[in-house]
Symmetry: C2
Subunit: 68 residues, 2 copies
């Protein structure tokens, strides 16, 4: 079961890779899927929302919380 979060500021594949790497560094076991068009990031592997927030914001993107 993946948790999906809104992430603002991702506009290209480089951004997607950057966010994926940032989450992977704080949560090595996570499977991360970025949907650029939707502006969302799905994280699988039981990662705390706070950890995702820290990774996303640390990489310079906007964390918009859990996607509806």
């Amino acid at each position: 079961m993946a948790d999906t979060y809104k992430v603002g500021g991702m506009t290209c594949g480089g951004c997607a890779r950057s966010v994926t790497n940032a989450i992977g560094k704080l949560a090595p076991g996570a499977a991360v899927t970025v949907d650029l068009e939707a502006g969302t990031v799905a994280v699988e592997g039981g990662v705390a929302a706070e950890t995702v927030k820290k990774a996303v914001e640390g990489a310079g993107f906007d964390f918009g919380g859990q996607a509806a």
Copy 2:
């Protein structure tokens, strides 16, 4: 005096911000200027090339060494 490095994979402002943040985290005092068109990053503040490499690669971009 800034040191300028080639960085591959940056294609938009989000990438630029991501690389800037990554360098800033490993070298808090550095002044970072990204030139997207040239694919270069200028780092001011006496930061070791190895530190820049680590930050750039950690963020998911390609470190191409010192720009000519």
